[in-house]
Symmetry: C2
């Protein structure tokens, strides 16, 4: 394990957290940001910034963590490794807006290193509109492709497909949202310069707040009806279902003794369930559901 | 597989559904009951009764299902069997009240048979108060013990402990509620008369609505403050977390291609999450949390 590079990555990620929290606070002047620094008994800890009571953002957060520890038998099997010590550091965020016309966004970058010398990066950004507007999904994917295109380690087409497959709820036969990019194990097989992989993660995480501002801005002043708020509640219910039933990061964290409150920061302030809700045929809700029901390979938004 | 007994059990369970729906409708005169009969492409189907807009009950349901099909490789491994055909029938219900002073209740009885001749019953009833009142938990357990005590196949102490261990969220280190009884594989090892096992399931499921009425009645006219409704939202969030992260029945259903809407009938109309919520020390909310935090073996309510 290259401790200098680990330390450099940790401090780089910590700086990204500061910068992104500042930019999001700038975007939503009313946002209440609460800091919760925590330590992990087995080694390391984190710095959780909790967002609430914003003008735009109802609930969310932006976590930094840097933990070290022993690779237990379960993790050895999952990672197919015989390494005994690990280090992991990352930044992750979810933003749930008040206004149903404004989308939910999620970002994560992370670095994982083992004492057998292997290491890898992973992460992604994905967008979950309560109401899908194809031109917005296209612009969002355009932003992500632009970042990938200037980093040789990144392959937009592959990472976009990865996000589609990852953010899919088989039990609903629905995509969570319009996808984005997702990648994992970058560098694990060798042939990747760690500085280049880090540079891509930095570029992605540093673009997070700007990407969100662009997608939120057109909708901020559109008033929401009660019916639109009700639809948002149901879509948030689906978000909860995806995170708790399928999301591998969430499930791994919860069953491996991760810090529950930091992991479940991703959940909305409220969510609703109605038995077998079916939107009016032809409604904007039905159109959104139709876009979400294209299957596990999602939609090619750049050509849609 | 004894098809006569299977058929008898199915019709017995279907009759219990009718009776219990009638009794619950009698208890909550405003309750809207919607019927959703469904078929399963692989064989069999179900009859879902959805509850909404009641005076007492906000959301819930009472399902009957009777399905048959092939035992896939995954199920063979899970059940440790080489049988190739199965039949399953059951009744299950969850009731979420409007009033936070009234508890949530859950009941399930089920019969499973394989073409190698093995069969078993399972089920239980458990109570999830938003506010725990020890004397109420004691009376609830007293009712369950009385039913177990007159059925030789049932062992209250064992089934009570089983419920405590089952309805526990390790990621919160919290019990879901005050437990109840839970049992599974009754008859699988032989030595159990199927008629006696069925009689116990019938007694349990037939007592469901009366058990709930007794636990709801003292609280129906207590007004709820905004703070109490907020606490209910957070406890409902925990209920959602338990069901989606840990409940083996829910998870098995969702990943094995079960009928999603019938399975997720168990979720409340709404649920809330607040980062790291801590109730006021000494408050009724803190007292409830204290009762829920006694560990995986729960509380001996009959002696509490």
């Amino acid at each position: 394990m290259n401790l200098d590079f680990l330390s450099h990555t940790e401090s780089t990620f910590a700086a990204i957290q500061e910068e992104q929290v500042a930019r999001i606070s700038d975007f939503d002047g009313d946002l209440k940001v609460t800091r919760d620094k925590w330590e992990r008994s087995a080694g390391g800890g984190g710095d959780t910034r909790v967002f609430s009571e914003g003008r735009i953002i109802e609930k969310g957060g932006l976590n930094f963590s840097a933990v070290r520890g022993e690779v237990g038998v379960g993790l050895q099997q999952q990672l197919q490794t015989k390494a005994t010590r690990f280090a992991a550091t990352g930044v992750s965020s979810v933003l749930h807006p008040h206004n149903p016309h404004v989308p939910i966004i999620h970002m994560n970058v992370r670095y994982f290193a083992l004492d057998d010398g292997t290491w890898w990066f992973g992460g992604g950004i994905d967008l979950t509109p309560h109401y899908i507007v194809p031109s917005e999904a296209q612009a969002f994917h355009g932003d992500l492709k632009s970042i990938c295109d200037v980093h040789a380690v990144a392959d937009y087409v592959n990472f976009k497909s990865w996000a589609d497959r990852y953010f899919y709820s088989p039990h609903r036969e629905e995509s969570r949202g319009v996808g984005g990019i997702f990648f994992d194990h970058m560098g694990r097989e060798g042939g990747v310069d760690p500085q280049e992989a880090l540079a891509f993660c930095v570029a992605l995480a540093s673009a997070y707040s700007d990407i969100y501002k662009r997608r939120a801005a057109p909708f901020l002043s559109i008033p929401a009806t009660e019916a639109e708020k009700a639809w948002q509640g149901l879509r948030r219910g689906r978000y909860v279902e995806f995170n708790l039933v399928h999301d591998r990061g969430t499930r791994f964290g919860l069953v491996s003794g991760g810090r529950t409150e930091s992991i479940l920061m991703s959940l909305p302030a409220s969510a609703n369930w109605t038995y077998n809700h079916q939107p009016e045929p032809g409604s904007r809700e039905a159109q959104t559901l139709n876009w979400l029901s294209k299957g596990k390979e999602g939609v090619d938004w750049l050509s849609a």
